[in-house]
Symmetry: C2
Subunit: 349 residues, 2 copies
DNA sequence: ATGAAAGCGCTAACAT
DNA sequence: ATGTTAGCGCTTTCAT
């Protein structure tokens, strides 16, 4: 009942020629008479035949497919994906995004697995999104976006996380906050570490006494952040921070949620600033003040870098040490404001 | 210098066994002694071998990969993708998103091409995002999200565009608007038609005389919308609409921009409501009042439907007429307000 | 101009 | 328990 996939063999059979001839027609090779070619084309159209990407790439060296390899498709990687698509749109390249099934507890090493499963066959080049390992060896050109580890042998695109952290602290200080907490990120990630470093640097530059500072774990994880936020916000009003910098928007939103559940108003009783500027940051109420990373642009730059390497593949040796770093910027919204004069005194709830 | 891909053959060679034995180890088949299996596993680990997804799927019937097939990766499809990933996360399934290179001028028929290129080989099932054709035949289960055409043989997920249009009209009426215009969408798309139908229904239910109504083309295209908006907003103040419903957010934003360039204030002199609730709608100033479609949830539902069909594949016949329709809702922001008492009189410019 | 055959990496009958 | 072999759909020598 359901028609099976049409293969090149059936096309050949229907046209009364060999599969080799059909293949030649498909690939515009010489050695086929115009008459035969036309007949074959007719059959192809009639049967609605399309060559199998898989079979074709198993056989061919080049596939014209670029892979975006991710551990998971969440807002960040989806945004990178859009950027890559922006560049590929209108080119000869096709785009495949691949998110393998997460093997339980596997945070590290997925990039090599994904690469091995696809390179040499399905894809000509790859963009790795937030890889933990950047010394991967591959037989195809690879570009990393927002790598988690420090040094890297492959071309890399990231944003200025350190400066972003600095900007966040500056913003809170400028508003007048003096008791500030940070919900940190994942200690194993470079981006997270840099955000914290920049944040500390700004506070240190402003000579804020460390007594006004607290750091609690957030792990880029809403659940962990909730717990930390709860501990933070149930402190006595005189000790409780008047502002929180969360290492990413997800944990910032979790913090706001906890604050609200405790009867604290944002930004009146608590200012919260995040990092990333994901769509949710704009859609929520109040709008989340945050540090924007130009994620989509990072995807664009990565794609550009990759295509360049793809075109130069044979000629040039692998140029090492290519690292593109894009600017971060403050996006002020409604979740931050000057602290109440007597913090906590306005709380009515 | 660059190590070539490790294949099963090299593993076999290094372990001193046949490729068949390696394959058995890989797939946990019976007939391999524990000693041999361990030796092979050791070699696999040493060499960092991973089986080629392509070769494997060419050979196998089942691949455990679900495909999300899109014409282009833009905000809408990326959002659907996230929804699908939400459901697949933690399951056995891997996710591949595929955006083929757009053949020039090809708006229609990409879904069949993509499907033919991947089905039967790379993927076990597919989610089609905004397909123009929904009578596709495939040898794998397929679910369509926001199909452009009307009737459909395959399971479908969309949102209640008609009700969304109704809600938009209701909102404007409730604010007190009586001269209302609509910037319509693309006549060839079902979603667009339904938005208009719902809009008309609400106005008719409210017995708004048709003299207060105008429809101008927008084509889901900012450029077209600009032109229409310009014509609309340069009418004499007594005739000019006090509110505009644009068929999607992109054209709503274009309308606001034109209004502003004509010296009209939004929402004081003109209320504008859009449709979709894309991130931009929240990020712009003033925030755009709009009708939200739960796009990510649509992706989730599609994935759920697909997995269900995948599991039931052999047993059940294809159940026809499965159509999931999710609710749309009004998201009030700052771009709509009650009309000025004497419309146009407050204009000072 | 056309076709037969090998082989890409892998799995599954089918030997042994 | 292990190996041999055929074949998934396709492209590409290499005959004819």
């Amino acid at each position: 009942m359901i028609p099976p996939r049409v293969t090149i063999r059936e096309v050949a059979q229907a046209a009364g020629v060999s599969v080799a001839t059909v293949s030649k027609v498909l690939n515009d090779r010489y050695g086929v008479s115009e008459a035969t070619a036309n007949r074959v084309r007719g059959v192809i159209a009639d049967l609605g035949y399309e060559s199998s990407l898989v079979a074709r790439s198993l056989r061919n060296q080049k596939t014209n497919v670029i892979g975006v390899l991710v551990a998971d498709l969440e807002p960040f990687s989806a945004e990178v994906l859009k950027g890559v698509a922006d560049v590929l749109r209108g080119t000869e390249y096709e785009l495949v995004a691949y998110a393998g099934a997460a093997r339980l507890g596997e945070h590290v090493g997925w990039e090599r697995r994904h690469l091995n499963r696809l390179s040499g066959t399905l894809i000509d080049g790859a963009v790795l999104v937030t890889p933990t390992v950047t010394d991967v060896v591959a037989n195809i050109p690879v570009v990393a976006v927002d790598p988690h580890a420090g040094r890297s042998d492959i071309p890399t695109v990231d944003s200025d996380n350190s400066r972003g952290g600095y900007l966040a602290a500056q913003h809170l200080l400028a508003l007048g906050h003096r008791r500030i907490a940070m919900v940190t990120g994942r200690p194993d990630l470079m981006s997270s570490q840099l955000r914290e470093d920049g944040f500390r640097a700004a506070l240190s530059d402003a000579h804020l006494p460390s007594s006004g500072l607290q750091f609690v774990p957030g792990g880029y994880d809403p659940a962990i952040a909730r717990e930390s936020a709860h501990a933070l916000l149930t402190m006595p009003p005189g000790l409780r921070p008047t502002a929180v910098f969360a290492a990413n928007d997800a944990t910032a939103l979790a913090t706001i949620d906890v604050a609200r559940s405790l009867g604290l108003r944002v930004p009146d009783d608590l200012s919260v600033i995040g990092f990333d500027n994901v769509p949710d940051a704009a859609m929520c109420t109040p709008g989340l003040t945050t540090i924007e990373q130009p994620i989509r642009e990072m995807g664009r730059r990565a794609a550009l870098l990759l295509i360049e390497r793809l075109h130069a593949a044979d000629l040039a040796p692998v140029p090492s040490g290519i690292h593109v770093r894009l600017d971060t910027r403050l996006v002020p919204r409604a979740s931050t404001a000057a602290p109440a004069l007597v913090p906590g005194s306005v709380r009515l709830g």
